[in-house]
């Protein structure tokens, strides 16, 4: 500890011992000593607290005018501290406190302090936070602050902190009107809590168009500065879609009901009510895999004999009681299964990155970005934004261009090429889901596309045949167990070493795993949970070299009659 600090703590010890006996007499000295110390070390938090105590005490014994003077002196002292160290938490916090206690605050003086501080460092977030407090407490109109950001951005488009501030102001001034298409028809839910992404922070359309113009000026002027691009992305974005049951599936053979939700739920705690032919059913909802507790798909088994008679028609309703929503499903005579769903297309599932605004507006934005791309063909922000717009307008129609742009992205921003590959895989999966739905088939096929991971598996609840051959997959994770209708799994020529997700798939009959990396019998354990499995192709896997593999497999998987090693 330095000499200074020793002196400080000794003084304090002395001082407060004194204070306990003679209140107020040594306050002046205490203020002087702490002032000296804080000038050189504004992060000595205890000293600021000590000062606050003294000041609060003085408030009770001095006249209002004197108190005003004392606090103004405090502000002057703080200004000198901030000049030395503009990023001290202690100093800014104390200034907040003083400003709030000043009998006659001078808010314009505080704003001008902020202006000066920001002119030296426009990214000083302490100063920005302080400014926000001043604006709030003094009631500066939002429109005036918006004008402030206009000036800052106008003089320097690259002012990221200004764009950020604007993003918080704009929705206050021009909120989305209640009549505009808003996903939620119910009264506002108490949770989850708001973030700028959620509905209440969106901006009305008229103002949005003006903002687009402002932002386009910015990124046409300096296409390499990311400030405007991030702001633009936010402008184009939209709220989360409403929460609902996206699919109810029922199967007579297993007497099982599977429910898919628009977001993951916890099977144990989600409030679901199953009504069968007008009668509430007591069932146990579970997730599809014990290691996958927070999942968009839940399943339950009906008591045996409930729906097994194919000559009976049944009506099911699943109520998601806490969200005041439900979905019906009718199981007809002669049919072994039934479902009711909104397709990914209906839900605009993959397009919902962007706003629900008029297509013409998005077309026009796409046009502007394409114009910029002609001038700046290697600009990654432009490419990313174009991809976003194309996926919003017509994911299948623009598929070829999207893939080409991803290729370019990997070339112009090679540092992130692995990330772009992953993003591209995701889009390929999304497009395959859409194509599958347009064709109204239950077959999902992506081969030879360098897929390394899987996503949107909740969209594959109804799929009966899946072909993922010739990719780079290493595992079929627990999420894979959402494919409750799967009958045939083709995943030849990958790098599969983990089959965790092939778990209790009641209809699974064939698993084709040629040329993968299954190395131990234990890796195949999950397959034993699939009662209908009869055909298994393990050729070209290390596990086939193990001793006695054939007899071990027969013991593990007795239902398999067609085993290829």
């Amino acid at each position: 500890m330095s000499l200074q600090e020793t002196h400080a703590s000794q003084s304090m010890f002395l001082l407060d011992t004194h204070c306990q006996r003679k209140e107020g007499i040594l306050d002046e000295e205490a203020l002087q000593v702490t002032q000296q110390l804080l000038s050189s070390n504004p992060d000595f938090a205890t000293l600021w607290n000590y000062r606050r105590e003294i000041l609060m005490h003085l408030e009770t014994v001095k006249e209002k005018d004197e108190v005003q003077k004392i606090y103004e002196a405090e502000l002057a002292f703080l200004e000198s501290c901030l000049k030395l160290n503009p990023k001290s938490y202690g100093s800014w916090h104390h200034r907040c406190w003083v400003s709030a206690r000043l009998p006659r605050p001078d808010w314009s003086r505080e704003l001008s302090l902020c202006d000066r501080c920001l002119s030296l460092d426009d990214r000083n977030f302490h100063c920005w936070d302080y400014r926000r407090m001043v604006v709030k407490v003094s009631g500066v109109p939002v429109a005036q602050e918006l004008g402030f950001t206009d000036r800052l951005i106008g003089s320097n488009f690259s002012n990221y902190s200004s764009w950020h501030y604007r993003s918080t102001l704009l929705p206050l001034l021009h909120p989305e009107s209640p009549e505009s298409p808003s996903p939620s028809h119910e009264p506002p839910q108490p949770s989850p809590s708001h973030s700028p992404q959620t509905q209440s922070h969106r901006v009305c359309e008229e103002q949005l168009l003006k903002e687009y113009e402002l932002v386009q000026n910015a990124f046409f002027t300096d296409p390499n500065d990311q400030s405007a691009w991030f702001y633009y992305r936010w402008l184009l974005g939209r709220a989360e879609r409403e929460e609902m049951i996206s699919c109810v599936y029922v199967s007579r053979d297993e007497e099982r009901v599977a429910v898919a939700f628009s977001r993951p739920v916890n099977a144990q705690s989600v409030s679901l009510l199953l009504v069968l032919d007008g009668q509430p059913q007591k069932v146990e909802w579970k997730s599809v895999h014990p290691r996958f507790k927070h999942s968009p798909v839940c399943i339950c088994d009906l008591p045996p004999g409930t729906i097994s008679d194919i000559t009976n028609e049944h009506n099911l309703t699943v109520h998601w009681t806490e969200k005041y929503t439900h979905r019906d499903c009718a199981l007809y005579t002669g049919r072994t299964e039934s479902w009711c769903r909104d397709s990914a297309t209906d839900q605009e599932l993959f397009r919902s990155e962007l706003s629900v605004e008029k297509t013409s507006v998005l077309q026009s934005e796409l046009q502007s970005c394409n114009q910029l791309l002609e001038l700046e063909p290697l600009n990654k922000w432009c490419l990313l934004t174009i991809v976003l717009l194309m996926r919003a307008l017509d994911p299948l129609g623009y598929e070829k261009e999207t893939l080409a742009h991803f290729q370019t992205l990997k070339e112009v921003d090679p540092m992130r090429s692995a990330y772009y590959s992953d993003l591209c895989s995701k889009f390929i999966i999304e497009n395959t889901v859409l194509k599958m739905e347009y064709a109204e088939v239950r077959v999902f096929s992506i081969t030879d596309k360098n897929l390394t991971t899987l996503c949107h598996l909740d969209q594959l609840l109804l799929v009966t045949h899946i072909n993922l051959s010739s990719n780079q997959l290493q595992q079929l994770p627990p999420q894979f167990a959402m494919l409750q209708c799967l009958e045939v799994l083709e995943v030849d020529n990958n790098r599969i070493e983990n089959l965790e997700g092939v778990y209790h798939l009641p209809k699974l009959e064939e698993v084709l795993l040629k040329n993968n990396k299954i190395s131990a019998l234990a890796d195949l354990q999950p397959l034993a949970s699939c009662p209908k499995l009869r055909r298994l192709d393990l050729r070209g896997n290390p596990v086939t070299q193990a001793a006695n593999i054939e007899s071990e497999l027969t013991a593990l998987l007795p239902s398999v009659t067609d085993l290829l090693l």
């Binding site: 500890m1 703590s9 304090m12 000595f44 205890t46 607290n49 920005w128 949770s191 992404q197 992953d422």
Partner: protein, 367 residues
């Protein structure tokens, strides 16, 4: 201002000067130059950087662990005989207030003595790193002190008499509860609401609602949610993907903390660990990251600085090592990305927690 992507030369074969870094941390634990005097009140955090740094370097044998353990326990603010100061308990940053040295209770009541949430956090980490079994930590007192710091909006003060409040201290609180295996010190639901409210328009996290996104606060947000076991409940897949995108874009060569700011060694950990927790760290460019970190290595005195040709300091020295550890630098121990201690120290913690649960019978862990 255009991105400065060619700011730094490509270094081909920079050696990692392990011994210099060991010496750097050793000196940190002994004597610091006068300009460090202002850090006296937060001395325990500097100790943590040095200890954990030595741990990452697998060089803890160069220090006398028992002496350190005693010193850390002397910083514990213990309950007084009448337990009237429970809401002020925890660990203090150093002896600067002048409380007489003592490693056992009962505590001495002093109007200006209290725990500080970041000191309690780094104090517990340091004890774990040194192999202590935390048996002398008054857990109930620490948790009572912690509880007293949480505000209505879910954030935390650093000290009971008040200070600024934001997401940094939520992270400290979550770490404390995680280590003590007891979540009674924090209202998790409120903390989650504060964290969610800090998500900014560009999908980074600010220090609080309406504040600018920043790599450090994003780490605090994500790491806290991971420690609480609530990452996927608190944030939707879509939000997580957007957050991944904001974080991935922070890499220039090394990482910066905010758009249009220069790269800084410490963000190789803050952002790197966040990406690791979000399962996408493998999509970053390891080579460029490594080159940048090593360009800030001080070849003379050891340690790392925030920028090349700058003075090294304990924080950047430690986080630079953690950044290298994340990319798998050989000879460095692996770091637990959420708790920010080595996996070795983490395993010691797990072992301790098993014995606690064994004797207690019931489990209050959040997972």
């Amino acid at each position: 201002m255009a991105e400065e992507e060619n700011q730094f030369e490509e270094f081909d074969q920079i050696d990692f000067l392990r011994d210099r870094h060991v010496r750097f941390f050793q000196r940190t634990l002994q004597v610091l130059p006068e300009r460090y005097a202002s850090l006296e009140t937060t001395r325990l955090t500097i100790i943590f950087f040095a200890l954990s740094g030595l741990d990452v370097l697998d060089a803890l044998d160069v220090i006398e662990k028992n002496i350190m353990i005693e010193w850390i326990y002397s910083l514990q603010v213990l309950p007084t005989e009448d337990q009237s100061n429970l809401s002020r308990c925890g660990f203090r940053g150093s002896s600067h207030i002048g409380i007489p040295y003592s490693t056992k209770g009962p505590g001495v009541l002093h109007p200006y003595d209290s725990g500080h949430v970041a000191m309690t956090y780094t104090g517990l980490c340091s004890l774990l790193i040194l192999g202590d079994d935390l048996s002398r930590v008054n857990k109930q007192a620490c948790l009572a002190g912690l509880k007293a710091l949480q505000l209505e909006d879910g954030s935390f003060y650093a000290v009971p008499e008040g200070s600024e409040n934001d997401i940094r201290f939520i992270y400290c609180a979550a770490s404390i509860c995680y280590m003590l295996d007891d979540w009674s010190g924090i209202d998790i639901q409120k903390a989650i609401e504060y964290i969610r409210g800090s998500l900014s328009y560009d999908n980074g996290f600010g220090q609080g609602a309406g504040r600018e996104s920043h790599g450090g606060w994003t780490y605090c947000a994500i790491a806290s949610l991971c420690l609480m076991g609530r990452l996927e409940e608190a944030l939707s897949q879509r939000e997580l993907d957007r957050i991944r995108r904001w974080c991935i874009m922070r890499q220039q060569t090394g990482f910066h903390g905010r758009p249009n700011k220069p790269v800084d060694t410490c963000y190789s950990f803050w952002v790197g660990a966040t990406l690791e927790l979000l399962d996408v760290f493998q999509y970053t460019n390891f080579e460029k990251n490594r080159s940048f970190i090593l360009s800030t290595q001080d070849r003379l005195v050891g340690g790392f600085a925030k920028w090349p040709d700058s003075h090294p300091d304990a924080l950047h020295a430690y986080l630079g090592l953690c950044g290298l550890s994340l990319i798998g630098e050989p000879s460095l121990r692996k770091v637990h990305p959420a708790l920010n201690i080595t996996q070795r120290a983490f395993q010691h913690l797990q072992h301790l927690q098993q014995t606690w649960r064994g004797s207690a019978g019931s489990c209050s862990r959040q997972h």
